[in-house]
């Protein structure tokens, strides 16, 4: 069984392996043992409510209960830009027009901004190659929205994700080569790593502060402003399906887009439902295709758990679980749990469940 739970100290080795395999481009999880250890510690403090809510870093592990090993990770940072300044470029348009000459020129312009300051970021998604497919990536990503919804007061109304921008297989970014490198005198990968290690103050000191006129950049650089890396395209589609949209901000290094959504508008949040647990001895087939399974979570801040079960387990008021699943979720009969679609579903799915009072074969399928 695959289950989401808060990250723990024991996950360090597995996390380090994953970070190493991820290679360049994952700025929030560099393969640095000490840093990862600090992150885990930070996450423990957060779940135990021993740190200020705005400083919270929520890291979730995807555990394979048979291997007893963490095979994926995803995270939520409660607020960005508080202890270090958070930078983006805002892609805006300046119009220069002269009625006298009949000239009307639109100039896309990059303005250095700190607009995401104080906003919740979803970040750090990483999944072992061995566990790709079968909806595991969806579970790892979407479990966060169930958590956000359950504990809204700990997060901002709006959440965002930074999408990895375009770089080639050698890790060279056209935008970095045309812009950042003119000011930083270092390779993209190096700058990216420094930024991941939390050495962000150097950005403030070295970055150009005045707006950058996009037409002055070479074609290759212009073409990647606001574009995602091919490998990130599926993640972008997934977030778009959740209701995330490009908000006009791009990464200052590689030009990757920032997408955002209001928590109450996120599809997983809108389509989630509450049920009470009913434990039964009926066998459950947990190996169904992703489209026939749904996510189920407990409502514990500290011992949050999410796993997937067959959609047919959902009843009008209850959800029927076997003992193993209930144990994994740390719930007993009568406890409240939340359910949400795993795969993209039609918008009417939840109403089907509510209105008809019984379960169609696949409520979100």
């Amino acid at each position: 069984m695959l289950v989401i739970r808060p990250l723990q100290e024991a996950d360090l080795d597995a996390l380090y392996d994953m970070a190493q395999n991820a290679g360049k481009g994952l700025t929030t999880l560099p393969a640095d043992r000490e840093l990862l250890e600090r992150k885990i510690e930070h996450a423990r403090e957060t779940f135990n409510q021993r740190c200020a809510p705005e400083a919270g870093l929520y890291l979730f592990a995807l555990e394979d209960t048979e291997l007893k090993r963490c095979v994926g990770i995803s995270g939520i940072q409660a607020r960005v830009g508080l202890d270090e300044v958070f930078y983006n470029y805002r892609l805006s348009v300046a119009v220069n027009a002269s009625r006298e000459l009949g000239v009307h020129v639109r100039t896309p312009t990059l303005h250095l901004s700190n607009d995401m300051t104080d906003t919740t970021e979803i970040c750090s998604l990483l999944l072992s190659d061995s566990h790709r497919g079968g909806g595991n990536g969806l579970l790892l990503s979407r479990c966060r929205f169930m958590y956000l919804d359950s504990f809204r007061k700990h997060f901002s109304e709006k959440v965002f994700a930074e999408m990895r921008g375009v770089s080639d297989k050698h890790g060279r970014s056209p935008l970095w080569d045309a812009l950042g490198s003119q000011f930083f005198d270092m390779e993209f990968s190096e700058a990216d790593m420094l930024s991941g290690l939390g050495n962000k103050s150097f950005i403030a000191e070295l970055m150009p502060k005045y707006p950058i006129y996009v037409p002055m950049l070479p074609d290759a650089a212009r073409a990647v402003v606001g574009r995602v890396h091919d490998n990130t395209a599926p993640a972008l589609r997934m977030l778009q399906a959740e209701g995330f949209n490009f908000n006009g901000l791009v990464d200052i290094f590689d030009g990757g887009p920032v997408v955002e959504a209001f928590v109450h508008n996120i599809r997983t949040v809108r389509e989630s439902i509450n049920r009470h647990v009913l434990i039964s001895r009926k066998p459950m087939d947990l190996n169904l295709p992703a489209s026939e399974r749904v996510m189920i979570s407990n409502v514990s801040f500290r011992d949050f758990r999410v796993t997937t079960i067959p959609a047919e387990c959902i009843g009008p008021d209850t959800v029927t679980l076997n003992k193993e699943v209930a144990e994994v979720l740390l719930v007993e009969s009568g406890d409240q749990v939340r359910l949400a679609p795993l795969k993209d579903a039609g918008p009417q799915a939840i109403h089907t469940v509510k209105e008809h009072g019984h379960v169609s074969r696949s409520p979100w399928g």
């Binding site: 300046a94 220069n96 027009a97 002269s98 006298e100 000459l101 000239v103 020129v105 100039t107 312009t109 045309a178 812009l179 003119q182 000011f183 930083f184 005198d185 420094l194 050495n199 103050s201 150097f202 000191e205 070295l206 970055m207 150009p208 005045y210 707006p211 950058i212 006129y213 037409p215 002055m216 950049l217």
Partner: protein, 338 residues
């Protein structure tokens, strides 16, 4: 003889002949269209006569004439106040140090700031001469006659003088700085923009020019190279102006990044070395050639003359020079060595 005198409306055709010979750059101060040029001449005539309307600022145009043929061979101008009541645009080259103590990095970043700081300084402009005369005494006469005029009417001009020198342009007519910067915002070729800048009010520059500073490092390599560089054809002009005391500061042209030369008016060589004298006749025409000017405002004349002996404040020059200047014995003149 070569004579420099204020322009007159009759000179219109003669001046069109000269401006037609020049490259693109001249147009920014001297239009090729007849009616536009006529308006400029009219403004100059009124400036010399002291009959400007309120709010107008003085713009003087001089012509170089061959007194034997009456033909016009060159033109030169002074704007008493650069911008003529409107903003005078330049880029100021400046530097920022981007340094990170933590990383031990310190880097000099060059930036071009849009600037109006030179507005209302006095501007030498509209210089054009028959290509055959480049580098001759007539060339020096035409250029420096303006400074003689300034020396004579010092209170009409500001403390600082500036001159815009044409920037780099390839033989195909491409302006690298324009192609890397202005073209993106003005949506027109260099020549069109330059023409507009001579003819229209400067409003279009305010409307179309990017308002934010420009990082030099983001310009094309060719544009960076052209920054502050004079066009190779401007060599003689550049040298003459340097000799007068002009030097390149931190300002460049917004269109072609040609250098803007600056000088303190009171330190200009012609202003310092010229002196007033009383005119007397000299039967011969021996002696060293020097600049001589006479007359105020619209009566101003300047020419080259062999200078005989000088006694106290008296100069002896050939009678032909008198005629040329429209003076007679005992009149006040101004002299300066070549």
């Amino acid at each position: 003889m070569w004579l420099v005198r204020p322009i007159k409306m009759d000179d219109l055709q003669g001046v069109l002949g000269i401006s037609g010979n020049q490259g693109a750059r001249l147009s920014s101060t001297l239009p090729k269209q007849e009616d536009a040029l006529a308006a400029k001449i009219d403004c100059s005539v009124r400036s010399f006569a002291g009959k400007l309307k309120t709010g107008e600022s003085a713009r003087f145009l001089f012509v170089l004439q061959n007194t034997a043929t009456g033909k016009i061979h060159g033109i030169a101008g002074i704007d008493a106040r650069a911008g003529n009541g409107q903003p005078f645009y330049n880029y100021r080259r400046d530097a920022l140090i981007h340094a990170s103590h933590e990383l031990g990095v310190s880097r000099r970043v060059e930036v071009l700031y849009p600037s109006h700081a030179l507005t209302d300084t006095s501007l030498l402009c509209a210089f054009a001469i028959d290509p055959e005369l480049k580098g001759t005494d007539a060339f020096e006469l035409l250029s420096r006659a303006r400074l003689m005029f300034i020396a004579e009417h010092r209170e009409w001009f500001s403390r600082r003088m500036v001159v815009e020198i044409q920037g780099v342009q390839t033989s195909q007519g491409e302006v690298p700085f324009w192609d890397s910067l202005g073209r993106h915002f003005f949506d027109m070729d260099f020549e069109t923009a330059d023409q507009h800048s001579g003819l229209l009010s400067k409003t279009f520059i305010a409307e179309l020019m990017p308002p934010n500073p420009i990082y030099v490092t983001l310009l094309s390599t060719a544009a960076q190279k052209a920054l502050g560089q004079p066009h190779e054809l401007t060599g003689p002009t550049y040298e003459l102006l340097q000799h007068e005391g002009f030097s390149a500061g931190c300002y460049v042209d917004i269109f072609d990044a040609g250098p803007v030369l600056e000088a303190r008016t009171d330190s200009l060589r012609t202003v310092v070395t010229s002196h007033r004298a009383v005119l007397h006749g000299n039967p011969g025409d021996n002696g060293d050639n020097c600049l001589i000017s006479a007359g105020q405002g619209e009566a101003f004349r300047c020419t080259l003359t062999p200078l005989g002996e000088t006694l106290k404040n008296e100069v002896k020059v050939p009678v032909s020079t008198w005629t040329c200047l429209g003076c007679s014995s005992g009149d006040d003149v101004r002299m300066a060595p070549l």
